[in-house]
Symmetry: D2
Amino acid sequence: MSQPSDRRVLITDCADAKGLIAKITGVCFENGLNIIKNDEFVDNTEGRFFMRTELEGLVDEASLLGALDEVLPAHHHTSLKPAGRKRVVVLVTKEAHCLGDLMMKAYYGALDVEIAAVVGNYDKLRPLTEKFDIPFHHVCHEGLDRHQHEAALAEVIAPYAPDYLVLAKFMRILTPEFVGRYPNRIINIHHSFLPAFIGANPYRQAWERGVKIIGATAHFVNNCLDEGPIIKQDVIHVDHNYSALEMARAGRDVEKSVLSRALGLVLADKVVVYGNKTVVF
Amino acid sequence: MSQPSDRRVLITDCADAKGLIAKITGVCFENGLNIIKNDEFVDNTEGRFFMRTELEGLVDEASLLGALDEVLPAHHHTSLKPAGRKRVVVLVTKEAHCLGDLMMKAYYGALDVEIAAVVGNYDKLRPLTEKFDIPFHHVCHEGLDRHQHEAALAEVIAPYAPDYLVLAKFMRILTPEFVGRYPNRIINIHHSFLPAFIGANPYRQAWERGVKIIGATAHFVNNCLDEGPIIKQDVIHVDHNYSALEMARAGRDVEKSVLSRALGLVLADKVVVYGNKTVVF
Amino acid sequence: MSQPSDRRVLITDCADAKGLIAKITGVCFENGLNIIKNDEFVDNTEGRFFMRTELEGLVDEASLLGALDEVLPAHHHTSLKPAGRKRVVVLVTKEAHCLGDLMMKAYYGALDVEIAAVVGNYDKLRPLTEKFDIPFHHVCHEGLDRHQHEAALAEVIAPYAPDYLVLAKFMRILTPEFVGRYPNRIINIHHSFLPAFIGANPYRQAWERGVKIIGATAHFVNNCLDEGPIIKQDVIHVDHNYSALEMARAGRDVEKSVLSRALGLVLADKVVVYGNKTVVF
Amino acid sequence: MSQPSDRRVLITDCADAKGLIAKITGVCFENGLNIIKNDEFVDNTEGRFFMRTELEGLVDEASLLGALDEVLPAHHHTSLKPAGRKRVVVLVTKEAHCLGDLMMKAYYGALDVEIAAVVGNYDKLRPLTEKFDIPFHHVCHEGLDRHQHEAALAEVIAPYAPDYLVLAKFMRILTPEFVGRYPNRIINIHHSFLPAFIGANPYRQAWERGVKIIGATAHFVNNCLDEGPIIKQDVIHVDHNYSALEMARAGRDVEKSVLSRALGLVLADKVVVYGNKTVVF
């Protein structure tokens, strides 16, 4: 009998060609698998095909991927995402709202995730973290250069072997070396509606510009700051009554909401990165 | 070479079973068709499978549907929607906003539709209609009983052989007999967020209740007033400053927007009705 | 020098008349008070005037209200809301999301409120509550009739002398007697976009009706179930992919967001009740 | 008896001081005027006070403004906006959606405005304009330098003495000289969520960046392109399925909606410009 643990997500990414859906779903059928949900997308500009297939049944992974190798065009990528709860480590600085929301949602089951640890460059969020019986590590950046600090972070993180790192208002810029250890596995929340107000103090910038909307962007981190593939964005309306400080306060609600929804999509294996973009199935 | 006129939409609706996507897309592939976009949905409560497949290529319709007959479970429904612009007749009373929006969007190409005629139980919207060189028919209800009036409407509508009727603030209740001539082919805009405020004067009701949101609902019309399958809904925020009249005025914007988006979905063969619900692909 | 504790909110509610703003703000000025923010509203249907005046400065309350008595029409109501953090008691049953959000926002300062205690008719949310060092009282309803249970609730609540009771998914219907003890001081979150789907299991009702939007409503509780003055409403879009259960899950986000925003408005003395409606300044 | 033509809007803009509301509303009261609606705003960063007062009654304008002069701080600005329908000239290039929406809304009364004329640098929108019996002027830019073209525009516009110019997808950059003739009286719709994607082809930029939201911004035009005070912004959600072209098409709906709502606010004298920002009452 099929259990939730019999569920897998198959991601296919290859050059577009005729008959791909028939071929892939045919292979799944011949392997005795039931398709729970199937979504595909073709980027016609680049002639590229993407498909996400949620499968149920006992999978012989090697056999399935081998059979797909035979029917798919050259240079294809397939991956079979394992079932089961994923593990994340959350990096923070001083602000509690994103971390608090993630822990609370994990606690009551709105996010199906194991928050294995929280790491802060300040110690401020330790008491909040420990309320939820999650280990907190203070890795202070003071007196260390960037590479020393990142080495210390990496050392603390490594034993948890996280599937993803979540930057929940972590206010440090990461080097390409650090980011390179977790390709497309670091999720950041940026406190603006990118690409507006890149850089420091976006709410101050927004206030000075007199905007009527502020937003937040969750994205994967790659080598360029604030420039990785966007997963989710949302906005709220503001008006002249908001000071820069009040914009920042109002922005927290949309920040935490966007981050937790983006993480939910990633955890459900619904996000495929290609180039500097995402397909969000 | 494939032209837009080579595009068809195949809708499949049948009992759920293993391998359906593989079988259907396999038949399409064997018939030399390219799949532009494929979407499926399984209602697990009812064990029912729905798929919308956008096809490109020269179709031998009988051959395709025949081949599908052989692979699909008993009691399946398949339909192959022809390419090309669809034709509608719009029914109105006195309010211009929905009709005006539909004609304007058809004029500049935001809605790919032929508005063959407008029929009003008042003559008020004739000048607006004729600006767009669309025939207007005044079918007055005065002095006629409901059946006589509907017979007169049907007589005026028939020569246009419309694919759909659009009730753009048509303030008359239609009988089951009339509705029965156009099964799932009459689209209505209801000036409330159904199922709240069913019946007369919903904005007055909303104002009296002190609601903070008003909405509009586009739905297919079936035998029960305001009760057909919902296609699209949207809302806007209001507050204590709005009188019932101002709510009605503000509501017009959401009414016309919901109606034209619902019509756009229907015209693109993205809406499948089952029971009193819709699947909107 | 003026401190935050020198801030007061003056609410005026009276028959409409010429010159009211001039008279009220004149009295404030003569009493040496600075107006931080002033908002007024006239309900022209009922000829009724409402004003919220945020004042700064040392107030001699009796002198101010006395001076207002002399310039306002007969049968006016004025109230001067004290500065300072308000105290609430939260009532819950088994669902954690609304309580969790309130406690988390109070913790990091997004809601300026003292959650004095949480009272549950089940014991399930005790561990979550106690993480935040808030007393939890289990007042089980089993074996008690409605009046006995409410007497027990009232006894537990009384020592906290709360400014407001917050029903954070408290799944019991309160009697008029109980409600009468806290006139316009009980805030409920209803898991539907009132007045649609009044009553039991609204998400099931919504799913059966095939709606494309679900919502939540925060309102004051009066004698009629689900019928009190609405403070805040919001919605999210859903589609055919949502089961009744998934609608309920998705609805939790909008429920907690609407409840905490409604409470924020009430705590800031921005909500004035009249009849079965609210003015939300 | 008071007629709509007895309505005026008084805008006050001055240094903040104690008692301003009392003084201004007191002067209105002493002049026998009834206040229909009063809104004020203090920019605490700049110590500046703004008030919008909607007045009813027969006004002796000189007497009212003179009395205000005596009670307001030095360097104040007051203006009394006359009642009655305002007149605009609309500038267009080739796209119909914004112009069409403005004309349609003016036709059925959703915008209380006289569209005195439409001026295009192409002739393409003449037929649409003339459907609504509005004069269309083709002022071709070919063969003219920027200053010659603007001189020709100005000559065509001048006889209509418009209160405002509306740039409804007018794809020409205006010189400071031209803009200087209509200070804070030119309203533009920019097809992006400013300040993201300033400059050419914003939808292409948005698509390349892989954004999940696109928007539109209505703003007053000043000397710097795309940099004037923002009146209104709104967004819609998009996803990977949208090509750059489809983003542009989807964007039209939000463009026309934002432009017509911004114009509605300006026509109702609800927008006050200060520096590079607006107060929108």
